[in-house]
């Protein structure tokens, strides 16, 4: 049974360290495992020598055995791997881990072959600097990745993904979302911010379901309460609808709530007022595969009013 505790003393009874490079050009590689203070104090540096064949699948970590201190890689019949011998303890197969590694390796090598190497000049340029035109704030939901559904390629969009694609207002203080907002707006100088929500959002559902309690042991509840203004306006205008329909209404209201929260950041509002930055809302319905988008009409909005009035323009529906 694993002994897990924090701190700098030896912590993991059963863990292993490995360093695997996925790179089809690899002929001979020596990798030094960095020794870090908080790991087991008796752990030595592990040197792993890999010699792959030119066949991309030269590395075959199909069988991975774990021991306390070292690891053993079983070489494929095609490639030759010179391995570090394990110590004495009985090895244990880690099925999921090896499947995950193999799949991940294949996917990465496919990306490298079909995209990276075929657009090498572009990738080399990007390695020097990024200049994305978009900041995208999207939900962490596995079904709604903006790279996939909106086709963003490397270099195009600086992306924040959190539960329910929420943007907290300035006065809530620092968090991961507004750190990314600050960096993308003031340093990368993105020209567009797109807050993109989606159907059947678990986070919004949690917001709509929760009772109005201030303190909760749940992280989710403590986070989604950022969207409470959207919940209030949904309850005020859509209480006659079914719960599912109210959730859908709130998913969209929350996007607008986030757009208004963006304007609470002075360096955002300043740029929007000057026409250097546009704020857009988007809603992906993955049930019928449609996308709705709109842009905040800053000139006609009065976010500082108590009612938080806002106007939108250029609404489009793609199906």
């Amino acid at each position: 049974m694993a002994q897990l505790s924090l701190g700098s003393s030896p912590i993991y009874k059963a863990k292993f360290a490995r360093s695997t490079i996925f790179d089809p050009k690899l002929k001979f590689l020596e990798i030094e495992q960095t020794q870090l203070g908080f790991w087991n104090s008796s752990k030595k540096d592990i040197f792993l020598r890999l010699q792959t064949s030119m066949v991309p699948s030269g590395l075959n970590p199909r069988d991975i055995y774990r021991s306390n201190m070292a690891l053993r890689l079983q070489a494929s019949t095609e490639g030759v791997a010179l391995v570090q011998e394990t110590t004495e303890t009985t090895p244990k197969l880690i099925n999921d881990s090896s499947d995950s590694f193999t799949e991940m390796k294949n996917r990465f090598l496919s990306f490298k072959k079909h995209k990276y190497l075929e657009n090498l000049e572009r990738y080399q340029e990007l390695a020097q600097a990024q200049a994305p035109k978009f900041l995208v704030i999207s939900c962490a939901d596995s079904r709604v990745c903006p790279s996939y559904i909106l086709g963003f390629q490397p270099g195009e969009a600086f992306v924040v993904r959190n539960v329910a694609n929420l943007v907290p207002p300035f006065e809530n203080g620092p968090c991961e979302t507004n750190a990314a907002l600050e960096f993308s707006v003031t340093t990368l100088e993105v020209e567009n911010i797109l807050v993109t929500g989606h159907s059947c959002c678990g986070g919004i559902r949690a917001l709509m379901s929760m009772e109005d309690e201030e303190n909760s042991s749940s992280f989710i509840k403590n986070w989604v309460v950022v969207g409470k203004a959207a919940k209030s306006s949904t309850k005020a205008t859509a209480s006659n609808l079914s719960f599912d329909q109210q959730c859908k209404h709130c998913e969209k209201e929350s996007i607008n709530n986030s757009l208004l929260n963006l304007l609470t950041y002075p360096w955002v509002e300043e740029r929007v007022a000057k026409g250097l930055l546009s704020l857009h809302g988007g809603y992906y319905n993955f049930v019928d595969c449609t996308y709705e988008k709109w842009t905040l009409d800053y000139q006609k909005s009065n976010p500082k009013q108590e009612t938080g009035g806002y106007a939108i323009k250029n609404r489009e529906f793609w199906s």
């Binding site: 960095t34 990738y123 390695a127 962490a140 596995s142 390629q153 991961e176 507004n178 750190a179």
Partner: protein, 207 residues
């Protein structure tokens, strides 16, 4: 603002391509997905426009619950300060029952670069500086162990050390710890080097 770039047209084109080439070609898959997501992975990746795991690992919708923040950081569990991160982990582990949490660091990370410039840099970015300080322990440890390292070499070491710290910090979330102990969850640390074009697994944590 650039006059030739039309942001709306750009995302319109992107969505159309997705609908025609992906969604419409596998309606059963997407219908199932609309009912329920069952991703195997929770991934933490940087917000950097160059490192979307969907691109570099060819992920399909439904495969990975994805958190993206500056420098792909996971702070120690703190309900008051970092409920955003906690919410992601809680939902992924408790509700979605993911099997693997993968933290992916990367080369030339602007967040780590900013961390290394502190505290001497004249300009202060309140939100950014507060966030990247999550990786301060990694920075201090690397500097102590590599006093002669500087520039890109130092930055790379901190980028990687920070990934390992994030794995350690994940264990401060009770349901992560119990998932590891029950062998229903494992943690992986990865590193994408887009200068050299390779991907490295740095560390794994299992029962």
């Amino acid at each position: 603002m650039s006059t030739t770039f039309d942001p709306i047209q750009r995302i319109n084109d992107g969505f159309e391509q997705f609908k025609i080439n992906e969604f419409n070609k596998d309606p059963d898959y997407y219908r199932q997905l609309a009912q329920k997501q069952q991703p195997k992975f929770l991934m933490f990746a940087c917000s950097d426009s160059r490192v979307s795991p969907t691109n570099i690992l060819n992920l399909r919708p439904g495969e990975a619950f994805m958190a993206r923040n500056i420098a792909n950081l996971v702070p120690v569990s703190n309900k008051e300060r970092y409920s955003d991160i906690g919410a992601i982990i809680e939902y992924a582990v408790e509700t979605l029952n993911v099997e693997v949490i993968l933290v992916i660091g990367h080369s030339r990370c602007g967040g780590i670069e900013r961390l290394l410039a502190l505290p001497d840099d004249e300009t202060s970015y309140d939100f950014l500086d507060d966030w990247v300080s999550v990786a301060e322990p990694a920075k201090q440890r690397v500097i102590a162990e590599n006093p002669d390292a500087s520039g890109e070499e130092l930055q790379t070491l901190v980028e990687k050390a920070s990934v390992l710290d994030s794995l350690k910090n994940l264990l401060s979330y009770p349901y992560v710890q119990s998932g590891i102990e029950a062998n229903t969850l494992q943690l992986l640390g990865g590193y994408y080097d887009f200068v050299r074009g390779n991907f490295q697994i740095l560390e794994t944590v299992t029962v």
